[in-house]
Amino acid sequence: MRRTANYLAPLLLLLLLLAAWELAARWELLADLLKIEPFLIPAPSEIAVSLWEDRALLAENAWVTLREVVGGFLVALLVGTTFAAVLHLSPTLRRAFYPLVVASQTIPIIVIAPIFVIWFGFGIGPILAVIALICFFPIAVNTLDGLGTVDPEQRKLMRSLGAGRRQTFIRLEAPTALPYMLSGAKIAVAVAVIGAVFGEWSGSASGLGHLMLIDNAQLEVPRLFAAMTVLSVMAVGLFGLLAAIEHRFAWWGEPRSRSLT
């Protein structure tokens, strides 16, 4: 019951916005306001038509982007959690690296992407690198924070129960950090698609980002919006998948009232 109610509100809002957009586009209100050609502002119905008619092209490019996103995300997950674990276990390394990692986030990804293309060449390499880089930060920082939330009393208890440093990490710290890590992963996967688009813009012959670039140049506006829609759905889908994983394997991080029911 409550699940349907949870979905109902955003769905209704979405329909309302789409209806408003449809009318604004049909009556050329926005085009008049912005003093541009009406065909530059497609109605949702036109986007839907494009989604259907160009489904093969969209699917083909979506598949390319999906593989990039998943690949880059997995690299970031592996590197980010390892990095967090190492920094957690060594306070010296933590002091040395942590400020630099934060500072690295101020480098705009849009600048980094073309450089990666120069370094790694044209192809999937630089795209994976851009996505991994953009995903790394939320995963690493959240995991590190999660490892840091372990109650010192709990650590003492583990020692008294006979746990060594390694066992304390495996049995106490890692499970404590798991929900935090998955929170970071959810943020990461949502921004990963942005990384994929930047990566493809910098150098790629396929993928949704590449398709958008072509559509933009050719003023194929409905297909541009269709590609954007597919990209959003992909991000939301991946986010939902991670939320489901969290619910199944890291439920202790959820608010207590929910885990009780």
């Binding site: 009393e153 129960l161 009780l260």
Partner: protein, 275 residues
């Protein structure tokens, strides 16, 4: 006989085990400890014999928990001697004592039985074998039927029982209990006190118990030690007159028990019993 005067002159004698033949499990001699400039424990002497239950009572922040951490081998005292089964090193004390913290600190992702079986699991047993090792005790402690429950599904009293089972399953001879029932309501607390006495009768151990509740101390322990404000010194040390063969309600209203409680409370307030 010993319940007449609790003056400083007699206090040291009551820090000894009841009978001189008893083997000493835990021994503190002139233990001092502190953090930075702060002196927390000042020249504390205490000997706890095998199978004895000793309660330490003191005002909040007087260093009771520090005392337990020292005994547990989680830290080293600044000076003085501190040994468990004659072993003085922190690592040795850590291996011989089981510490039960104030909060239950059960791991929310493990079931009740897996929480209780944590120590066997840390010894390297498989989950199944650790569960099998924990099962009989789990039942003896009245936890049967809750094996698969998660900590979030248990009441405060049940969680504390599971935490105690976890402490016992370390298999160590000395139990160090830090205000085990402080977070519980009065009724649950009284229930658990009786329960603990039964549990210790079934699973005899040496116990050093810290509490701020004088009645709890006198009811649960063979001897009670009252500590001063920080830095903690011994103010009062006496055997408890409690008759634990009686139901709790009768044991704690017995005149000898009431007198002992008044005397301990007076000592705790910093007063001296009139001679």
């Amino acid at each position: 006989m010993r319940q007449t005067v609790a003056g400083p002159a007699q206090a040291p004698r009551a820090t000894e085990p009841a009978s001189p033949e008893v083997e000493v499990e835990l021994e503190l001699a002139g233990v001092r400890h502190g953090f930075g400039e702060l002196k927390v424990i000042d020249r504390l002497d205490l000997r706890v014999g095998r199978g004895e239950t000793v309660a330490v009572v003191g005002p909040s922040g007087c260093g009771k928990s520090t005392l337990l951490e020292l005994a547990a081998g989680l830290s080293e005292p600044r000076s003085g001697r501190l040994s468990v089964e004659g072993v003085e090193t922190a690592a040795g004390r850590l291996r011989r004592s089981a510490y039960m913290p104030q909060r239950d600190l059960l791991l929310p992702w493990l079931t009740a039985i897996d929480n209780a079986a944590l120590a066997p699991r840390l010894r390297g047993l498989s989950r199944e074998r650790a569960r099998r090792e924990a099962a009989p005790l789990f039942e003896r402690l009245g936890l049967d039927g809750f094996q698969r429950a998660r900590p979030a599904e248990l009441s405060g009293g049940m969680r504390q029982r599971v935490a105690f089972a976890r402490t016992l399953l370390t298999g160590k001879p000395l139990l160090l209990l830090d205000e085990p029932f402080a977070a519980l309501d009065a009724i649950t607390r009284a229930d658990l006190q009786t329960w603990l006495i039964d549990a210790l009768r079934a699973e005899p151990r040496t116990v050093l118990l810290v509490t701020h509740d004088v009645e709890e101390a006198l009811y649960l322990a063979d001897r009670v030690l009252v500590l001063s404000q920080r830095p903690a010194r011994s103010l009062f040390a006496e055997p408890s007159p409690a008759d634990r063969a009686q139901p709790r309600a009768e044991a704690v209203t017995d005149p000898a028990f009431v007198t002992a409680r008044e005397r301990a409370l007076l000592a705790l307030a910093g007063g001296e019993w009139p001679r």
